[in-house]
Amino acid sequence: MSTNPVLEAARPATRAVPAGRPFRLREWLEREAVFSWLMLTPPLLFLLAFLGYPFCYGVYLSFVKRPVAQPATFVGLGNFVNLWNDAIFWQAVWNTFRFTAAATVLKLVGGLGMALVMHQNFKLKGMTRALLLLPFIVPTVLSTVAWQWIFDPGMGMFNRLLMFFDLVKQNQGPSWLGNPTLAMVSVILVNTWRGLPFFGITILAGLQTIPDELMESATIDGAGTWARFRYVTLPLLMPVIFIVTTFSIIFTFFDFQLVYVLTGGGPANATHLMATYAYSVGMSSGQLGMGSAAALAMVPVLGVVLLMMSSYVRRA
């Protein structure tokens, strides 16, 4: 028996609680709704504080003029009007659409090809899959710095190889990140390089769920390779392809790191995306209101994509 005075003092107090009450509390806790809400409250409060509040605060900021460390003044739609009249903003919008469309198509076609190639029997398949996923695993900023060096006009890999095979003279190779068109091509190439394995591996997982019997019966019915792909594989893959593409569109459309590190939006805003533009307005120039408005200008796109997705899910 304990002789601890603290415990002794605490004991009568516990006894003083009416006998039935702790039992009823337990019963109350066992109710599904009570248990659920007790579990849900902490994470919901967290998301409310760090996602919900910043979002609403961002909406508020987009209606004020607020230089860093100065009080805000209400300007109504002023920020949006400024953006509307800003040629660089429109260039960023156009760039973002071009970038997203080109990169998504390349990743989808390449990823589908990768999945079909990988969906055969060969040795070390697991290892192959792990290695081909590496571009997607390695921190984007670090691989992008490597690409920056690959594109380097003087001593980068591409131009060194062109020089090595005598295709160009020293220091006369293309300026991969300095020419507006080439810079956009380069940015799309790096995004494709990073995202292709995501498409490939996910579509492969979808392919593996297609039963072999379907393929066999199609073959018996006289379907050739193309017909099997067109009328059996592709329709069954559509749900996976749709989801992967929607995800990828969202992540590509809102991409920031890649362009920020590779070109910083240059040359002459040729590769500025809406995200990097919002950063340069909001953070580099310190106009929080304008920056918020530029970021919120991306919401309609997110809304359209989400609507497409939900209508598709409902139909399926």
Binding site: P43, F50, L51, T128, I137, S143, F254, V299
Partner: protein, 281 residues
């Protein structure tokens, strides 16, 4: 003859495209590693074969450790990624468990909310978030990123775990409840242990995402000794227009190594996490 795999068919249909894929996916890493092992004299010699290393040298690695805070950045990255992964898994379970296994009003609406928060990109939130963190006096602290990373990871973890929790038959829980276990005990002793693969998938995925994060780190971490690898490398190894490519590639290579090592041990779970949303859902 249909479907017969001759040697030439196998070459064109499998080995050739596979080789091309390998080259495309891995040559940047080879270039990264090769550059980091060449001293500047060889690195910037236009007559040298760019794909070959004549005199391997560790000089860039030695400089990286001596002249920069690289070791500290690695430590910070690991710390931040671990803490935010643990927080995200905890909060993720608390969200996912009731949504997957309990019936209560508003459950459907909440599940949709979680799915939408997963798709809300960070790019939308960084301006107000920066202002918020500054007002909370958390600017330039690791706490700032430990608090903000879970906003990106919790919805994903919850979404993935909902899928796993749903695969466990309801009868298991009911049996435990009939045997006198409380809901809490049924959850912690019966259901959660069965979902270990789900935790591994969500954990590995969250960990790699946290190591990859750049925007919040760029906004919140200014002092050199509290930076993570991505902001340290881009912020301090690129000085104005001067690029120290040897050092940069050494840093990119070493900085990628921890993620790649952890990933290589858990590839199966990583792939499961990657494909869970699109194949099952």
């Amino acid at each position: 003859m249909v479907g017969e795999l001759t040697w030439s068919r196998r070459l064109v249909g499998l080995w050739l495209p596979l080789t091309l894929l390998f080259v495309f996916a891995l040559f940047p890493f080879a270039w990264m590693a090769a550059t980091s092992l060449k001293a500047n004299a060889e690195l910037y010699d236009p007559t040298a074969n760019p794909l070959w290393i004549r005199h391997p040298s560790l000089v860039h690695y030695i400089d990286l450790f001596k002249e920069t805070n690289f070791v500290v950045w690695i430590g910070n990255t690991m710390l931040v990624a671990t803490v935010s992964t643990v927080i995200s898994l905890l909060l993720g379970v608390m969200l996912a468990y009731p949504l997957a296994r309990m019936r209560f009003p508003a459950a459907g609406l909440l599940a949709i909310t979680v799915a939408v928060t997963y798709l809300v990109p960070q790019t939308l939130l960084f301006v107000p978030m920066a202002d918020l963190i500054n007002r909370m006096k958390l600017g330039d602290t690791l706490t700032a990123v430990m608090l903000t990373y879970p906003t990106l990871l919790v919805p994903f973890c919850a979404w993935l775990l909902i899928g796993y929790f749903k695969t466990v038959p309801k009868e298991l829980e009911e049996a435990a409840l009939i045997d006198g276990a409380s809901r809490w005990r049924a959850m912690t002793r019966v259901i959660l242990p069965l979902c270990t693969p789900g935790f591994l998938s969500a954990g590995i995925f969250a960990f790699t995402l946290a190591q990859n994060e750049f925007l919040y780190a760029l906004l919140f971490l200014n002092t050199s000794t509290i930076r993570t690898v991505p902001v340290g490398v881009t912020g301090e190894l690129i000085r104005g227009d001067a690029f120290y490519w040897g050092q940069l590639m050494a840093a990119a290579f070493l900085g990628s190594l921890p993620v790649v090592l952890i990933y290589s041990f858990f590839v199966k779970y990583y792939v499961a996490g990657l494909t869970a949303g699109s194949v099952k859902g």
